[in-house]
């Protein structure tokens, strides 16, 4: 092999090596691009699932609050009725006391 042929072979090999590296970089860029879209997709799915869970949590709480509220209201109303019934039963006694104050107290 002559000197020129040897140089040609080496230059070809260098070209091929450069192509191998360029291909590797292209592949790496593709991997990175795929990664961006993968991350975006994965984030979207995770956030969507969380939002779904969040919506369900609030909706469930609203429904539970209505039920809890009804129980609470019933309980408070029952106590309130007791208080008011007891007060109604004591109205006569209260009138007697007030009349006695009005009739007897000094101005």
């Amino acid at each position: 092999m002559s000197g020129i042929e040897t140089v040609k072979v080496i230059v070809e090999a260098e070209k091929e090596a450069a192509k191998i590296l360029a291909d590797a970089h292209t592949r790496a860029d593709e991997i990175r691009k795929r990664l961006d879209s993968l991350i975006e997709q994965q984030r979207k799915e995770t956030i969507q699932a969380a939002q779904k869970e969040a919506t369900a949590l609030v909706a469930n709480a609203q429904s539970e609050a209505v039920t809890e509220g009804q129980v609470f209201e019933k309980d408070v109303q029952s106590k309130m009725r007791e208080t008011l019934d007891r007060a109604s039963a004591r109205k006569g006694l209260a009138v007697e006391k007030l009349v006695s104050i009005l009739m007897e107290s000094e101005l």
Binding site: V9, I20, D23, R27, L57, Q62, E68, T83, A94
Partner: protein, 205 residues
């Protein structure tokens, strides 16, 4: 194998090795980035769920608080209604009781006597309402007042009626000093005490 062939093979082997390294490095980077992104997304998702949990708790609390507030107002309204009824009935009862002339005379004498003591004058003018001016025996009233005062009272009854449910206004002769001992004033003055007493009797344990 010639030197040249070995040389070119080395060049290509080095290039291949470097290419593998580039890919491997990129894959490692991607895996790390993906893991990092997963952690970040999980954090965001966790924040969303935690915020929803807090909102859910707030929804429950708001509901209970709304009901508690509404029922409290209802209860206060009902209590106030009962107290007002009791107060009105008591006033009506007093007015009814005082229709008994003997009883009213004694009551009126006590009111006028209290007024005379308070004004601290020897001679006073007593003002009554139009109904009392016609029905009350002023001579008898004066006698009762003297009895209560323990001395003779110099009382002049005004012919000008006052607007009142009952009771009297005791004034100086010139009208500059007045002690208002009407039923209306008594009701008004005693109202805070009556409300407290009614509250204790009606709603106390």
């Amino acid at each position: 194998m010639s030197e040249t062939s070995r040389f070119t093979e080395d060049i290509l082997a080095a290039a291949n090795q470097k290419a593998h390294a580039i890919i491997d490095e990129t894959e490692i980077e991607t895996r790390q980035a993906l893991d990092q992104a997963k952690i970040q997304s999980a954090r965001e998702a966790n924040d969303i769920v935690n915020s929803a949990r807090a909102e859910a708790e707030a929804v429950r609390r708001r509901k209970i608080s709304e009901i508690r507030q509404r029922l409290k107002l209802e209860e206060q309204f009902e209590k106030s209604r009962i107290v007002t009824e009791v107060l009105d009935q008591s006033k009506e009862r007093v007015i009814e009781t005082l229709k008994d002339e003997r009883r009213y005379l004694a009551y009126l004498a006590a009111l006028v006597t209290s007024g005379i003591r308070e004004i601290g004058l020897e001679a006073v003018v007593v003002h009554l309402n139009v109904h009392d001016l016609s029905r009350v025996n002023t001579i008898e009233l004066e006698r009762e007042i003297s009895k209560l005062l323990g001395k003779s009272a110099k009382i002049e009854f005004s012919s000008e009626p006052v607007k009142a449910l009952g009771g009297a206004i005791v004034s100086s002769k010139d009208g500059k000093t007045r002690i208002i001992n009407t039923l209306d004033q008594k009701f008004e003055a005693l109202e805070p005490r009556l409300l407290i007493e009614a509250g204790k009797t009606l709603f106390g344990e």
